[in-house]
Symmetry: C2
Subunit: 361 residues, 2 copies
C-alpha cells in the first residue's frame, strides 16, 4: 500500500514535468504544498526527501526546492554527445569537459563521432530516434553544405529531445540553439591587428565546407575593405574535411604545401582557420626555409595545446578556458529544466605571441 507521502511524491513528479514545459524551475514552499494538497508539513517533508533521494530535486538552504532536470529512473538520464572527431586536437579536452560537467549534474554521456561524414551522422541520429536520450549536444558535419539529416533533428525535437549545436549549425536549420565562437569578429580582429603592424599583403586559409571557415573569411574581407586594402584572390586558399582527415590521419600536408608555394609567395602575413592549421603550416614553412615571423607573420583563430607545441608561439584568439563546454552544458541543462535555449556567440580575445612582426612603413 502506498503511503500519503509516496502519493504526494507521485503527484509532484508529474507536476514537475508539466512545470518544466512551462519554464517553472522552483517548487512551491512546504507551507504552500501542505495547503494545496491538504497534508501535514511532515508528509510534505517526507515526499520532498524521497524526491531528493531520487535525484529529482535539490534543496537550497533558505531558498527552497528546485527540480534538477533529471528524470525519475537513472537509466533515462542519458545525453548523447556527437563530435566530428574524438581522439585528436581539441576533441579529447572538449569531450572531457562536457562529460564531467554533465556527470556532476547526474547525467550519463553517450559518445559518438561522425568523422565529419553526413552518412555517419545520419546513422547515429536514426539510432537515437530508436533509443531516445534526454538531450543531444552535436557538432554538425560540413555545416556550410546542404545537409540531408535536418528532418531527423526535427523528429528528435518532436520526441522531446533537447538539442544544442556546438561550433556551427546548418544554414537551413533554425529553432535550435548553437554555442559557437564569434568567428566573423575573430577574423576581423586578426586581420585588423596585422594591418596595424603595417601588413597589407595578407593571406588566408579557411575550411570551405564549414560555416566557421566562411565566417572567418567574411571577417577577413570586411577588415581588408574597411582598411581600404584590395582583396587579392590569389592569397586565399580553401581546404575541406577530407584534407583535414588526411592531415590528421596521415600527416598529409599537401594542401598546405600548395598554399605556401602558390598563395603565400607575395604575402607578408597570413591568418589560419585554427591553430592546428597554423601549427602544421609553420612546420612546413620551416622545412621550406622560411622563418616565422621574420619572413612571414602568422596568426590563427583558435588556441589549443598545439600552440604550446609549436616552435614559434602563435598569436591567436582565445576565450576563457572551458567556456565553450560550460556555456553548452548550461544551455542544455536550462532546456532540460524547461527553459528555452538561446544561441551564444562567444567573444574571442587576442593573445599576442611572437609569430607576428611589424613591418616598417
Amino acid at each position: 500500500m502506498t503511503t500519503k507521502y509516496q502519493r504526494l511524491a507521485d503527484i509532484l513528479r508529474e507536476s514537475m514535468k508539466k512545470n518544466a514545459s512551462l519554464g517553472i524551475t522552483k517548487l512551491p514552499t512546504e507551507q504552500a504544498l501542505s495547503d494545496q494538497y491538504k497534508v501535514s508539513r511532515q508528509t510534505v517533508r517526507q515526499a520532498l526527501s524521497l524526491l531528493q533521494k531520487e535525484g529529482l530535486i535539490q534543496k537550497k538552504r533558505g531558498s527552497g526546492s528546485y527540480p534538477t532536470g533529471l528524470a525519475a529512473g537513472s537509466d533515462k538520464n542519458h545525453i548523447a554527445l556527437i563530435t566530428s572527431y574524438s581522439d585528436d586536437y581539441i576533441y579529447p579536452a572538449l569531450i572531457h569537459d562536457i562529460q564531467s560537467l554533465l556527470m556532476e549534474s547526474g547525467y550519463q554521456v553517450n559518445l559518438y563521432s561522425t568523422n565529419d561524414h553526413v552518412s555517419k551522422e545520419r546513422e547515429i541520429l536514426k539510432d537515437l530516434l530508436r533509443n531516445p536520450v534526454r538531450g543531444l549536444i552535436i557538432e554538425g558535419c560540413k555545416s556550410a553544405l546542404p545537409n540531408p539529416n535536418l528532418d531527423l533533428y526535427e523528429k528528435l525535437k518532436l520526441n522531446g529531445v533537447s538539442v544544442v549545436f556546438i561550433h556551427s549549425i546548418y544554414r537551413d536549420l533554425s529553432g535550435f540553439p548553437c554555442i559557437k565562437d564569434d568567428d566573423y569578429s575573430g577574423g576581423y580582429t586578426l586581420v585588423n591587428h596585422l594591418i596595424k603592424q603595417n601588413h597589407s599583403q595578407i593571406g588566408g586559409i579557411f575550411k570551405y565546407d564549414d560555416t566557421k571557415g566562411l565566417d572567418c573569411y567574411h571577417g577577413y574581407l570586411s577588415a581588408m575593405c574597411d582598411a581600404g586594402l584590395s582583396i587579392e584572390e590569389e592569397h586565399i586558399a580553401w581546404f575541406s574535411s577530407e584534407d583535414l582527415n588526411l592531415l590528421r590521419k596521415k600527416q598529409d600536408t599537401s594542401f598546405l604545401l600548395e598554399f605556401i608555394h602558390k598563395q603565400l609567395k607575395s604575402c607578408s602575413a597570413v591568418i589560419c582557420h585554427n591553430d592546428e592549421i597554423a601549427y602544421w603550416l609553420i612546420k612546413e614553412l620551416k622545412y621550406a626555409g622560411q622563418k616565422v615571423p621574420e619572413d612571414l607573420s602568422v596568426a590563427c583563430m583558435n588556441y589549443s595545446y598545439l600552440n604550446d607545441l609549436s616552435p614559434v608561439r602563435i598569436t591567436a584568439l582565445s576565450h576563457e578556458p572551458h567556456e565553450l563546454a560550460k556555456t553548452t552544458v548550461n544551455t542544455l541543462l536550462n532546456m532540460l529544466h524547461g527553459l528555452s535555449g538561446e544561441s551564444v556567440n562567444l567573444s574571442l580575445q587576442l593573445l599576442t605571441r611572437n609569430s607576428i612582426s611589424a613591418l616598417n612603413r
Copy 2:
C-alpha cells in the same frame, strides 16, 4: 522658342518617368491627353511623334502608346553585362544572346568579366557607381561564399540602376531578382534517372564556391535519401573557381584525375556540375582506359556545344534554347518600365543520350 507640342513632349517625358516608378506602362489615349492638357488632338499627335522618334514610346496599332523604357538621349541607355568569363564555354553564346535582345530594344551593352574574382567585381561596380548605367545584368562571383561587395549592389539600386542576377545570387543579398536554372530539381532528376537504371553507387562532382554546386549536391542528397540509398562521402568531390580557371586556361585536369582515382573507383555512375566538367572527365576516363557508359555512366547538369564535341553524347539537363537570356532580358526590360522584377527558376528537361547504361538488377 518651344512650340506647344514640344512643351507637351517635355511634360510627357517627365510623367513617363514618374509613371514608370508606379508601374504604369501605357500612356493615356490621345483624347485623354488632349482633355487633360487642354491642347488639340493635332498637338498631342505631334508630341507623340516626337517621343516616338526619340525612341521613348512605341505605338501599337489599335492599342495606344507605350513607353519603351528607354531614356531620352541615346547615350543614357547603357546596360552593363558582367559575367564571370567571356571567351570560353557557354559565355560567348550567352553574351551574344543578351546583347542582341537588348540592342533590339534600343540599349547599348557594356561588357565586363570578373574571372570569378570578387576583387575584380568590386572594381567594376565602383566604376559603374561613378559612371551610371540604366541597368545591370550580373553573374556573381563565388556566390556560395560571403561577398564583400553587397553594399555596392545596394548603392547601385539606390542610384536607380535596375539589377538582375543570372545563374546564382549571393546568399546574404535579397531584394534583387535572379534568373537561374532549378539546380536542386536538376540534381534530383539526374540521380533519380540513374537510380531507375539500377545504379546505387553514384558519384558526384560539384563546385563548392557556387550556390549552383550546393543546389545540385542538395538535389543529389535528396534523391539518394528518398530512394533509401546510403550517401557515401568518398564518392563526392568538390572543385573551386581556381580549379576551373586552371582547366580553362591551361587544360589542367588534375582535380578530375584525382576524382577518377580517389572517388569514382567503386562507382557505376556519376553526375557532373555541368557538361564542361563531364566533357573533360570523359576524356580523362578514356585516357585511363575506362569506357563510358560500359564502365561508368555519366550525366551532367547543363547542355552546351561541348556535349556535341564529346566522344560520347552525354545525358544532360537542358531548357529551351536562349531561354535564360530571354527571361533575363524580359525581367530587366520590365524593371526599366517600372515593373518589379521577379526571380525565376527555369525548369530543366532531361535529354537522354548514350552516356548511361542500365545495370542488371
